[in-house]
Amino acid sequence: MARETTFAWPQIKLRFRHRETIAFYVLASPWLIGFLALTLGPMLTSFAISFMRYEVITPPEFIGLANYRTMFFHDELIWQSLRVTATYSVGSVMVGMVTAFLVALLMNQKIPGIHVFRTIYYLPSSISGVPVALLWMWIFNPEFGVLNTMLRWFGIQGPQWLFDPHWVIPAFVIMSLWGIGGGMVIFLAALQGIPQHLYEAAELDGAGVLSKLFNVTIPMISPVILFNLVMSIIGSMQTFTQAFVMTKGGPANASLFYVLYLYQNAIGYFKMGYGSAMAWFLLVIILALSGLVLRSSPLWVYYEGEMRG
């Protein structure tokens, strides 16, 4: 007589904590796999490649620290590109942050049709990249661009903008104002979160407009200022599209941004190892700058509810 056998799944008793852990990894796995395969993997690969001579079509060759040595001691364009990027970064971050904040203050007024104004000011941020670069090339044209035409109305002979080594970076800074909409929305959200009673209390104490701005508004939104500042610094250090489309780094390397030079090395000259070394150096610079800003934040950022000794 044949014996019937039945298969039974092994009963594994898991504690709740373990079940939760497994569920976490299962649910997070799409991101984890994507992160490991598409972000961490290429990052580690680029770190390894930064110690190699690698042109894609020929096998990589280990050359130790040679790429880093060239970068720091022999390639003057690295320093030129850093100078360009730093100048732009300081200009665009300062001008961009202040303008975004001032526009957010304006957009925070309770006037009829304010939603339309908010949309109008945010709209340019939704268009970015190559079309914006092409648009601004026409705006900056010294002969018949809008900017110089307007300057001529006031009897001012406008500069050559993108064609002048001294004006090309200021031109890019002006152009960066196109994208303030994103920062403005974040400032606006923060401004609307400031409790009204703080302003009322300040008024009772006799505070004027400026006093309320510096003693209530700015401290209350300082965490958002910190966030926007860090993001702006990171964004400005990675400037590429505008320079690639509008100037190709010229004239005379006056707009040779770091990432553009990195691109030229990696994709233009197919020096993938050198490009990778440059990318890692940029990461270190961005980490250092972000760290510096974050370390300074206890001095100027106010968090509601925090205790200060």
Binding site: G41, L44, A48, P59, M137, P142, E143, Q160, A252, Y269
Partner: protein, 477 residues
């Protein structure tokens, strides 16, 4: 029993996976075993190291080309034609856009499945690959077939050789010449420029002499210019009989040193600068952008007397209604007291067989078909490119081109004359030209035109920078 994965263990696994990925990516996956960095190509060894087909394996040729309908049709007609005599051959096709053309080829090479037959044309010329020993040396085939090259324009053969060995066969060429606005010349009463490459009276000095007549000003702005040669341009010095590198270096593919520190080179730079900044007969980049205002190029606006040009613009020029245009030779390099020999350039393209091709014998036969009069004529008709064979270019192709672009015999005479004397551009001839130019020359060149550097200082700066890059990029320097 412990079931949960600890955070530390998870991080360890993640790091191992990442490191493993990195190591796999860095593993020396090579197209062939011996990749030579030096320029020397051992001919006999090369033939011996060619991979062979397994018994019974079909002869397969991977062809890599760009996604142009005409050109794909041309290739497919060639496949059919070839199969008539070689029915055992299968063609595998790889097509990609012009922008991705070289990159896709690079990825095929890196993946160990290089195209058997292709022509690198987009970002880098063939010499980039030849210098990395990625082309099959064709000497044994050329010798075996006693291959006749006498019909090809001399300038097209220059880049078919690397280190004195055959590595490719000519495909096409794009000679340089001048186009001019006949209506504008007639209106200003200026005689037409010469159509004779031996005419020394049509020179850069002559261009300067007629420049002011052809340049017009309205208010405080120039609204018509005599000349546009797009200074600063990478091949600019060739119009003046000069180059950044010695002529002998063009065959080597690697320059030995910067050759521009001469009075002639300095005066050529001064001349270019004066056309824009002193005489105002050529537009600045800003003026070019303003005048062009959406037109495909400045010449088509009718506001330009003459410009350096190539045949790829004829398709657009044939529809010009507002003025009559013609073709002239590039001015003779007589300028500012110098009179040099011509060193005008062309852009020649070639067909190559990649190392790693599993069927080199049939690849060679297919290469011969592509470079045959039949193949070059079909290619020329499909692309508009001038065939590399003189008999084809000046025969049936010329007739078709005249009808297609509505041009005269005189226009074709100028183009053929240019093809006879012109040699490869620096961008095609030098392995690392992109880096040499963009890093070594361009910044100083541009600095002159924006008034940042004097021509003398610019040349000194170019010399230092170019020589530094030569030391980095030339394996024999």
């Amino acid at each position: 029993m412990k079931q949960a994965i600890s955070r530390r263990r998870f991080m360890r696994y993640a790091a191992s996976l990442g490191l493993g990925g990195a190591l796999v990516a860095c593993a020396p996956k090579v197209v062939e075993k011996e990749v030579v960095k030096e320029v020397t190509v051992p001919v006999k060894e090369t033939v011996q190291t060619v991979a062979t087909l397994a018994p019974g394996q079909k002869k397969e040729l991977l062809i890599h080309w760009r996604t142009s309908e005409n050109e794909i049709n041309f290739l497919r007609s060639m496949f059919e034609r070839f199969k008539e005599e070689h029915p055992e051959v299968e063609f595998k096709e790889s097509y990609t856009s012009w922008e991705e053309y070289d990159r896709k080829a690079d990825l095929l090479i890196a993946a160990g499945t290089p195209p058997c037959v292709w022509g690198p044309m987009a970002q880098r010329g063939g010499r980039y690959y030849a210098a990395r020993n990625l082309f099959m040396v064709l000497d044994p085939f050329v010798e075996k077939d006693n291959y006749d090259t006498s019909d090809f324009y001399p300038g097209t053969l220059q880049l078919c050789k690397w280190d004195d060995h055959w590595v490719g066969l000519p495909m096409d060429l794009w000679p340089s010449f001048f186009v001019y606005n006949k209506t504008l010349f007639d209106k200003e009463g200026v005689p037409h420029p010469s159509a004779d490459w031996n005419d020394k009276t049509w020179s850069w000095d002559q261009v300067a002499a007629i420049g002011s007549t052809l340049t017009k000003r309205t208010g405080d702005q120039n609204t018509q210019f005599a000349l546009s040669a797009a200074w600063p341009d990478r091949m600019a010095f060739r119009h003046f009989g000069l180059s950044y590198f010695a002529k002998a270096d063009f065959d080597r593919g690697y320059p030995q040193q910067f050759a521009g520190n001469t009075p002639e080179f300095l005066d050529a730079l001064r001349y270019m600068y004066r056309t824009v900044s002193e005489w105002g007969i050529a537009p600045t980049p800003a003026q070019t952008q303003a005048l062009q205002a959406g037109a495909p190029n400045l010449f088509m606006t009718g506001k330009l007397g003459m410009a350096l040009d190539f045949m790829w613009n004829f398709g657009a020029y044939k529809d010009i209604q507002d003025f009559e245009w013609g073709v002239a030779v590039v001015p003779h390099p007589t300028f500012l007291g110098h009179s040099l020999g011509r060193f005008n350039f062309m852009f020649p393209d070639q067909w190559f067989i990649m190392r790693g091709c599993l069927a080199p014998d049939v690849a060679w036969e297919f290469l011969k078909l592509l470079a045959s009069p039949e193949g070059l004529l079909a290619f020329g008709k499909a692309t508009g490119a001038m065939p590399a064979r003189k008999s084809v270019a000046e025969g049936e192709w010329a007739q078709g081109t005249k009808e297609k672009y509505k041009v005269t015999d005189e226009v074709m005479k100028v183009i053929f004359g240019g093809a006879d004397i012109q040699t490869a551009s620096e961008s095609h001839a030098f392995v690392a030209f992109e880096e040499l130019y963009t890093k070594g020359v361009q910044p100083s060149f541009e600095a002159v035109f924006v008034g940042q550097l004097s021509p003398e200082a610019a040349v000194q700066q170019m010399e230092a920078e170019v020589n530094r890059i030569i030391a980095e990029t030339n394996p024999k320097a």
